[in-house]
């Protein structure tokens, strides 16, 4: 079983990124590449579905930190959904829940982008 697989799919104009496994210094490159690829393809609305994520170490958090300003400057965002208690706890201890929107479900995550759209 691989340590980490990352799938991406489109739900409207939101790119949902689904890491399955764990994100640490050994696996972070795949995670970073998935986010970067989506941004390079012009997709600025990213939603990380964390339902398959066992844990995330600082390497993964650093990727989110490194990309979020650039993404927001282009009118997009990086949001998270369906985090298990472990991952949510990591985010909360470091205050990432104030940096990034964390939603309960993928559906809510996608809807949160639609709610941003004026008109």
């Amino acid at each position: 079983m691989p340590d980490l697989t990352v799938e991406s799919r489109q739900v409207g104009d939101v790119t949902v990124i689904c890491p399955e496994g764990f994100i640490n210094a050994h696996t972070v490159r795949q995670f970073e590449q998935s986010l970067s690829r989506a941004l390079e393809d012009g997709n600025q609305k990213l939603l990380i579905n964390g339902s398959g994520l066992a844990y995330i170490a600082s390497a993964g958090l650093g990727v989110i930190m490194g990309l979020i300003e650039e993404t927001r400057a282009k009118g997009g965002d990086i949001r998270l959904a369906e985090l298990n208690d472990t991952v949510r706890n990591i985010f909360e201890v470091l205050g990432f829940n104030h940096l990034c929107k964390i939603l309960s479900s993928e559906k809510e995550g996608v809807a949160s982008y639609q709610a941003d759209t004026p008109g």
């Binding site: 340590d3 300003e69 706890n89």
Partner: protein
């Protein structure tokens, strides 16, 4: 490696190569040991993450990403705390004074480094970088079983 009180050897000692592919193994072993010795699932995961970060620092910074070196992790769960000691022969990783963690500032300044040490300090009650009697560099981390940060 003497333990905190008994003078006997640590309950579990692990030696592994300085390769990031072993970090998950160390993470999971730490988590299971913490759960086995009385910590709940969230506490155990937090402790595992702290050890993950500490060993990552050794792999990436102490040994500068070079494989072929050795890392030791010693666990002592007896008594009122879980003591974890990480030993290596690489570049010393001193506990530099770190200002209060400010995530917004780090993001604004495009700084992603230092998160690992912050995680270690948030998840553990004590973190100290020092030298072992053997001359090896060591990181000592302690998590009390009955946690009261005000007293630690």
């Amino acid at each position: 490696m003497p333990t905190k009180s008994s003078g006997t050897r640590a309950l579990m000692e692990l030696r592994f190569p300085s390769d990031s592919k072993y970090l998950h193994m160390v993470h999971e072993l730490t988590r299971l040991l913490a759960e086995t010795t009385g910590f709940d699932a969230t506490e155990a995961e937090n402790i595992a993450l702290a050890v993950d970060e500490a060993t990552t620092n050794v792999v990436q910074h102490a040994y500068q990403g070079e494989p072929g070196h050795e890392i030791e992790v010693h666990f002592d769960p007896e008594g009122d705390s879980l003591d974890i000691v990480i030993l290596h022969d690489g570049k010393p990783l001193e506990s530099v004074p770190v200002p209060d963690f400010d995530l917004d500032e780090l993001v604004a300044e495009h700084k992603t480094g230092g998160l690992g040490l912050t995680i270690m300090r948030q998840m553990m009650d004590k973190v100290e970088h020092t030298k072992a009697g053997t001359g090896k560099n060591m990181c000592v981390m302690v998590r009390y079983k009955q946690r009261d940060r005000a007293e630690s």
